[in-house]
């Protein structure tokens, strides 16, 4: 099993969900997060007081998929989340040891 974590632009979330749905993936967790990588923040001005806002809103998705599908899912996700500009985000893929379906104690890939 692989865990795929993706940090993307908030406005790309719906597109990404649609893309994953078309290849049969519809389980995921989503967070609203703040952060930045190479992308610079933006300037906000309130009554002449300037604020450099570096931590900008992003959406983080997390999904665990069978190892055999990890590459396909990662590609679909990246394609859907891409706008081509700085700030599109990152995807991290890592190994998962085990999974448990709490309802009935199913283990491993059958629990996904």
């Amino acid at each position: 099993m692989k865990k795929i974590e993706a940090i993307i632009q908030p406005h790309k979330l719906e597109e990404v969900r649609q893309a994953l749905k078309t290849i049969g993936i519809d389980g995921m967790s989503v967070w609203e997060v703040r952060g930045h990588g190479r992308q610079k923040g933006h300037k906000e001005v309130y009554r002449g007081q300037e604020y450099q806002v570096d931590l900008i809103p992003k959406v983080k998705l997390e999904l665990v998929v069978p190892s055999a599908r990890a590459e396909e899912v990662t590609r679909a996700l990246a394609a859907a989340a891409r706008s081509g500009s700085i700030g599109d985000g990152k995807i991290f893929v890592s190994e998962i040891e085990d999974a448990v379906r709490i309802r009935n104690d199913e283990r491993g890939e059958t629990a996904l």
Partner: protein, 475 residues
């Protein structure tokens, strides 16, 4: 008869017809009264007296309806208006504490007003302070007080003026936002009302007050709805508070962005609407003067919004929403003293001046001096109020409000001396605000300590002072 034909019948009876009918009826009454005069002369006198009373009652209920509405509108300016406007401008951890600064005055000042405040402000006394004749609202009943408002119950006038006494100290709280101890705030606001507001209100509006324009003042100054009494006193006191308390922890290096400009926009809109009660209500009647003040208020505000927005757009690159609504408040402040004395186009000029100057104050001048007037109570109310008070002397005209029976009211009428009187009123209100506030702060500091300790300030007012949070997302 169906609805349609009924309506057309009503439309068919034009007003001149009605008036002619009424005239005939009155004539009839008089003729028949004359016929009876010899046998019953007292009946005529009684009929005329009844007629006079009926006319007076009609005017009284009209004026009273508007004044009670205005009183409610002015209360709405404090809560939710100002509470939202200021609440949105602070950081999330201080939203409740900041709203409480406004809200609690709706209770505190009300009780103070009933006990002693109204009497000190509006009873006849010395030129600087009223006596105790209205203490505990003694003698304040249904009978109008002819000195102030002949056509509304004295009670209505009293409660209308109370709403001004509530919002004025609430305005100051913008300067010490996010860092004042609640206990000290309560003491400060009580003492400030006693030492600064009540005397100032008496001097400008009270019978025999030093600066009263119509009731025997030594230096008659025009202040229709509170440029000196409300905005200069609160704005200048705000500056003193900001300097005395010092900057917030982390100001200006840390981010202190408003946590919700949305709340501030709603608050500013409520202020704009409520301000019609503030300014048009200051006519203390529902006649043409109220309309004139309403219109001056509205157009000045609209002009100030555009002036602030355009200045910001040119100087800072973007027309911010917070800028637009701040412009509205600046315009409302500046037109307040002038609203019942100026024509619509001078009102627009006052609005433009307020929009540009207040923008420069809060965005440029504040930075130069480095004080932390957190929500710009001084920049908007102190400066806007001063500007408005002076320009009132320039643009006041007898064509709008003929208080001097045909003589010049302001510079545009040819009386340059009025500008001097306005300056005197401005200086007195600045002086009283500075000295009064400094003394009160010293007292509050000695009793409770005015400034939050560092830890409480970092945690925020909501948790440290009130044991609550504004937004409980997990609840």
């Amino acid at each position: 008869m169906n609805k349609q034909s009924k309506r057309s019948l009503i439309r068919g009876s034009s007003f001149p017809d009605l008036r002619r009918g009424a005239r005939c009826a009155v004539l009839g009454v008089l003729l028949s009264a004359a016929g009876l005069a010899q046998s019953a002369g007292t009946d005529v006198a009684k009929s005329l007296d009844d007629l006079k009373k009926a006319a007076q009652n009609a005017q009284m209920s009209g004026d009273n309806a508007w004044m009670l509405t205005s009183a409610a509108l002015v209360l709405m300016m404090t809560g939710p208006g100002l509470a939202l406007f200021y609440g949105g401008l602070v950081r999330r951890k201080n939203v409740l504490g900041t709203m409480m600064h406004s809200f609690i005055l709706m209770a505190t000042v009300s009780i103070l007003w009933a006990i002693i405040g109204y009497s000190l402000a509006f009873a006849e006394g010395s030129p600087f302070l009223g006596d105790f004749r209205y203490a505990f609202l003694h003698g304040v009943g249904a009978e109008p007080n002819g000195d102030y408002a002949a056509t509304i119950p004295h009670q209505t006038y009293m409660v209308y003026q109370l709403m001004f006494a509530i919002i004025t100290p609430a305005l100051i709280s913008g300067a010490f936002a996010e860092r004042m101890k609640f206990s000290a705030l309560l003491l400060f606001m009580t003492l400030w009302s006693l030492v600064v507001y009540f005397p100032m209100a008496h001097m400008v509006w009270g019978k025999g007050g030093f600066l009263n324009g119509t009731l025997g003042g030594k230096f008659p100054a025009w202040d229709f709805a509170g440029g000196t009494v409300v905005h200069i006193t609160s704005g200048v006191s705000a500056l003193i508070c900001a300097i005395y308390l010092g900057k917030r922890e982390g100001y200006p290096s840390e981010s202190m962005r408003p946590h919700s400009v949305v709340l501030s926009v709603i608050g500013a809109c409520l202020l704009w609407v409520g301000w019609f009660g503030f300014n048009a209500g200051s006519a203390v009647s529902a006649g043409a003067l109220a309309s004139s003040a309403f219109i001056a208020t509205h157009f000045a505000t609209a002009a100030a919004v555009l002036a602030w927005m355009c200045t910001e757009w040119i100087m800072a690159g973007k027309p911010s929403v917070l800028g637009a609504v701040s412009g509205a408040v600046a315009g409302l402040v500046a037109i307040t003293p002038a609203s019942g004395f100026v024509k619509p186009m001078p009102a627009v000029l006052i609005g433009v001046a307020a929009g540009v100057i207040c923008y420069l104050m809060v965005s440029k001048v504040k930075k130069v001096f480095g004080y932390d007037d957190s929500l710009d109570a001084f920049g908007v109310h102190g400066i806007g109020g001063t500007l408005g008070a002076i320009l009132t002397g320039v643009f006041a005209t007898k064509e709008v409000n003929d208080l001097r029976m045909g003589k010049a009211m302001g510079l545009v009428d040819g009386d340059a001396g009025q500008v001097v009187n306005q300056l005197i009123a401005v200086l007195i209100s600045w002086g009283l605000a500075i000295v009064g506030t400094l003394v009160i702060l010293k007292i509050c500091d000695a009793v409770f300590g005015v400034r939050l300790n560092k830890e409480d300030e970092n945690v925020g007012l909501d948790l440290s002072m009130h044991g609550e949070e504004g937004y409980n997302f997990e609840a």
